[in-house]
């Protein structure tokens, strides 16, 4: 047996396999793109502002004009939020969606914001009706990393008639929710909605849009 030839075949197998793996990896990764980053707009040396929206469908926002694979799913328009470190983040959320009761009324509270409050259509509140929730914006801390960042804000449901046209969709006048929180050092955090808005058959409303990345969930990167 020719040793060098065998070695050549061995190396070729490794390279071919590695190549196949890389190709497969890229194919899979490109199949589920992370949406383009939504950057926090700096308003002063210590503050910046971030604007989000929650829609009852996916026609508007980062899923494309036709709504992507699931045009009827509820969505936050962006799943990839980028904010600066050690800054006050002033968030405005336009909430266009209806809703109902929380599974766990715990999430009717405003938690982790500056002052423990939010401004809901001009009024400062610390909690809202747990039976009238559209979504929540819940940003979780990741224990073990030595960093604490927990923010949870309820977004009351909106039952007004659709009167506004955005892109191809008709939406009601939105509920406007404003709140602020402070970031620490760099890191990536996960956020998602804790209102069961994802329609599953029997269990809990956490299926479909709630169980698919990029609709009712995303990341917040502190840079």
């Amino acid at each position: 047996m020719n040793g060098s030839k065998s070695l050549g075949i061995a190396l070729a197998s490794v390279l071919l396999g590695g190549g196949a793996l890389a190709l497969a990896g890229f194919a899979l990764a490109s199949d589920t793109p992370h949406q383009a980053a939504l950057n926090c707009v700096r308003t002063s040396a210590t503050a910046c502002s971030l604007q989000l929206s929650t829609y009852p469908d996916s026609l508007e926002g980062a899923h494309g004009k036709t709504g992507g694979a699931h045009p009827t799913w509820v969505t936050y328009a962006n799943d990839n939020l980028v904010v600066p470190e050690n800054t006050t983040i002033n968030v405005t959320i336009h909430q266009y969606d209806g809703g109902g009761s929380l599974n766990d009324p715990f999430f009717d509270q405003v938690m982790g914001t500056i002052g423990g409050t939010m401004v809901y259509n001009g009024k400062t509140v610390s909690h809202v009706d747990p039976n009238n929730i559209g979504h929540t914006f819940t940003l979780r801390n990741i224990p073990g990393n030595g960093k604490t960042l927990f923010v949870s804000v309820p977004l009351p449901a909106d039952y007004r008639n659709p009167t506004i046209t955005i892109g191809t969709g008709q939406y009601p006048k939105p509920n406007i929710i404003k709140f602020s929180f402070k970031t620490g050092g760099p890191g990536t955090y996960e956020w998602n909605c804790e209102y069961p808005c994802g329609d599953a058959r029997v269990s809990s409303g956490f299926g479909y849009a709630m169980s698919s990345f990029g609709y009712m969930s995303g990341t917040l990167t502190v840079k």
Partner: protein
């Protein structure tokens, strides 16, 4: 091959190897679990680590015996080349060896069982007739904790030191796994059912709650922070929390 490999004295190196590997295993057993596992904050976790140590020490001679025998076989009785070696002396049965082996494994298993059942009884034993009740509610992908009788609900788990805590665990949606990492207790959170576990925190400090049952998209991030505080601090904290109705 000469007949020297049938000579009993040549087994000396096997026993040496066995002894050395056993010592390695015992040392690994004494230092490995306690070094790698999270610091113990409850009697349950203490018992878990102790059981790990004891099982490793008990298993060390067994594993070492197999390794020593394998290495000894490899050192003494292997042949290379393209032609097969001549047939070896056939040994089809050896009742004494089989009986000894079975007896030893039965004894070892009995030891493991007696220790394990004892530890299980100790694990399940309730230390107090008046435990602190904490309702644990799992929802995809957050833990919340209620303290019955107080209308307090929190997403971090505060516990007083030295008092037995009974957790009543349930889920609002799918099955989750409630696990206090530093206290060595786990139970699933099921929808429509309340499962219970209890433990007694005995060390002050922070700890981690993790989900150990796959629960969907953000399972990896379903953690909660915990803190064991003095009973006085606990009362103060409880009083300071917003009351929910």
């Amino acid at each position: 091959m000469t007949d020297s490999d049938n000579d009993k004295t040549s087994l000396k190196s096997f026993f040496w190897l066995w002894g050395i590997l056993t010592i390695v295993g015992v040392v690994l057993g004494l230092y490995g679990p306690s070094h790698l596992m999270p610091k113990s904050m409850s009697p349950n976790m203490h018992l878990t680590i102790l059981t790990m140590v004891i099982f490793t020490v008990a298993a060390a001679p067994v594993a070492a015996g197999v390794y020593a025998a394998t290495i000894y076989v490899l050192r003494n009785w292997t042949h290379k080349g393209d032609e097969p070696p001549p047939p070896a002396k056939p040994v089809r049965e050896n009742g004494i060896i089989v009986a000894t082996w079975v007896s030893i494994s039965v004894l070892l298993t009995l030891f493991l069982l007696i220790w394990g059942l004892g530890a299980l009884a100790e694990d399940n034993a309730s230390a107090s007739s008046n435990p602190l009740i904490v309702n644990v509610i799992a929802q995809q992908w957050v833990w919340t904790f209620q303290y019955p009788g107080t209308h307090v609900e929190s997403n971090s788990l505060y516990l007083p030191e030295g008092r037995e805590v009974e957790f009543h665990v349930s889920s609002d949606d799918v099955t989750h796994g409630f696990w206090i990492v530093q206290m060595g207790v786990q139970v699933d959170a099921n929808p429509g059912v309340i499962t219970t576990i209890h433990t007694t925190p005995n060390v002050l400090g922070t700890f981690d709650v993790r989900c150990e049952q796959f629960c969907g998209l953000n399972h990896a991030f379903m953690d909660a922070l915990g803190d064991v505080v003095t009973p006085q601090q606990f009362s103060t904290w409880l009083a300071a929390q917003p009351q929910r109705t």
